[in-house]
């Protein structure tokens, strides 16, 4: 049974680039995903201080809990007027079952440097780049006029898309 994969809108990534509005979706693979073990990791219950980070013994004293990190964070170009429904449909289109399967296979193709350090094999990383750089995966939208208040636009888009979470790969 394929893992549950969710694509969650992340408002911290909303920005304009060369006049295009881009939004970010974080893709998390649930249990059963090949990348799940790599990204289901310990998080500190609170952010460590600089001194604690510099001292492993002190760092180890901070309580931790498990969290599922995104396997990949993808930016999609959209029109400023894009609705939640339209974007949800676009996200489902981008992250179809085949794409999800490929991403899971490629991003779990890692080599271990030691017990805690790993990296995705270069050949697989190249394929991820190629896969996600296809124009159909990057979205599309009109140029934001120069006169637009970009900060206001970002706030409006973030408010409109807040909490959008799409279960993909159906």
């Amino acid at each position: 049974m394929p893992p549950v994969v969710t694509a969650t809108f992340n408002s911290s990534g909303t920005h304009t680039k060369n006049g295009w509005l881009k939004v970010r979706f974080d893709l998390c693979y649930g249990q059963g995903g090949k990348t799940y073990p790599l990204h289901y990791v310990d998080h500190f219950d609170r952010e460590p201080t600089e001194e604690e980070l510099a001292d492993e013994a002190r760092l180890a004293l901070i309580p931790t809990h498990k969290e599922l990190n995104p396997t990949i964070c993808h930016f999609i170009t959209i029109d400023p007027e894009t609705t939640r429904d339209e974007l949800e449909a676009k996200v489902r289109e981008i992250f179809d079952a085949d794409t999800l399967s490929q991403l899971d296979n490629l991003l779990s193709d890692v080599e271990w440097l030691d017990a805690t350090r790993w990296r995705v094999k270069e050949v697989s990383l190249r394929q991820v780049v190629q896969l996600m750089n296809a124009s159909a995966k990057r979205g599309s939208g009109g140029i934001v006029p120069y006169s637009t208040d970009i900060q206001q636009l970002i706030e409006e888009v973030n408010a409109r898309l807040a909490g959008l979470e799409v279960e993909v790969g159906d």
Binding site: N10, S11, S12, G13, T14, H15, K17, N18, G19, W20, K22, R24, L38, H39, V41, D42, H43, F44, E47, P48, E50, L53, A54, E67, N69, P70, T71, I72, C73, H74, F75, I76, T77, L107, L113, T116, R117, W118, R119, V120, L125, R126, V128, V129, Q130, M132, N133, K137, R138, G139, I143
Partner: protein, 340 residues
């Protein structure tokens, strides 16, 4: 060809702090193109993250070539960001700014990390990255495709050489103050006054007629193969001012002087009283009015179109001004030489 820049994004033994723009001296960019994927491994959750490409200006001064916002970066595993578009040129470095959290760092065995306070990742911004963490590397790595990316042209740009816009929105508007030369061939651009064109300013598929007004001077190959152009009163045309499929008739007024290949093969043009034509001014269906003198290839053919050429009393006909259908009185002379 694949591009990569920076040190690999792995879990390292140390960390580096926020509030600075830090550039990686390891693994300079190996080709020109666009970075579309960035990988980061954060020691603790990072916020307000931007990434960019920089090039060395001189000494330890670097200028931001391009940058893009990423946002938050979750700690604990490698985070990959795709769908980016960050221009990069061979030997560029990759850099990042973040306002909170820490990025993984090693403090020995690498080429080093330079840094400067604050966010310096604004395009064209220069800063002195004199501070150096020698032998360090941070977990910031970019990959992409050679030859990708788009070059935006703005109002103040002057385009030369290969400033062609290859991807993204293919349209570029060159406005009034811009001059184009070399390979600035923009298939769908608008030219507005007061541009002057030289070289191969070809407008291959111009969708709207290009109006040439009084102050325009055209030379070189200013071809408008699909659309119309209007030459107004004081225009002078030289070279290959060919209007192959002119949609609108070209009206020539009294002060026009036509030379070269000003052919209007489809539609008619009218030469009025004081005009003189030379060269290949072939107007298949044109009328010559009273005071015109025709010479060269100013042939007015009578045939399928049923159009007549009128030579009036004061005209002299010679060369290919063959008058085959209608001659007005008074008529003197013989053969093809009508008036001596």
């Amino acid at each position: 060809m694949a591009i990569d820049v920076g040190a690999e994004a792995i879990n390292r033994s140390n960390y580096t702090t926020s509030g600075f723009t830090r550039l990686a001296l390891d693994n300079l960019a190996n080709a020109d193109g666009s970075l579309d994927t960035i990988e980061i491994w954060a020691s603790s959750n990072m916020s307000g993250t931007k990434v960019g490409t920089l090039y060395l200006v001189s000494g330890t001064t670097y200028e931001c070539r391009d940058s893009e916002t990423i946002g938050d970066v979750t700690a604990g595993s490698k985070q990959s960001f795709t769908g980016l578009d960050c221009d990069v040129v061979t030997n560029d470095v990759v850099a990042a700014y973040w306002s909170g959290g820490y990025m993984e760092r090693d403090s020995s065995g690498y080429a080093g990390v330079r840094y400067v306070s604050g966010d310096q990742l604004t395009i064209d911004n220069q800063a002195d990255y004199s501070a150096l963490m020698a032998d360090d590397a941070m977990s910031l790595y970019g990959t992409g495709t050679a030859g990708g990316g788009a070059t935006e042209k703005t109002g103040s740009d002057t385009g030369a050489g290969a400033d062609a816009k290859a991807s993204g929105s293919p349209l570029a508007a060159i406005n009034g103050s811009e001059t184009g030369s070399g390979a600035d061939s923009l298939p769908s651009r608008d030219i507005t006054l007061p541009e002057s064109g030289s070289g191969v300013d070809a407008l291959v598929s111009l969708q709207t007629p290009a109006a040439k007004t009084a102050s325009d001077t055209g030379y070189g190959v200013e071809g408008t193969p699909l659309s119309g152009a209007t030459l107004a009163a004081v225009d002078t045309g030289a070279g290959v001012d060919a209007l192959v499929s002119l949609q609108m008739p070209a009206a020539k007024t009294s002060s026009d002087a036509g030379s070269g290949v000003e052919a209007v093969p489809v539609y008619s043009a009218v030469l009025v009283g004081s005009e003189s034509g030379s060269g290949v001014e072939a107007f298949i269906a044109r009328l010559l009015a009273a005071a015109e003198a025709g010479c060269g290839a100013e042939a007015s053919e009578i045939g399928g179109g049923g159009l007549l050429k009128h030579l009036f009393a004061s005209e002299l006909g010679e060369g290919a001004d063959g008058l085959t259908a209608k001659i007005e009185i008074p008529t003197k002379g013989g053969g093809m030489r009508l008036w001596t």
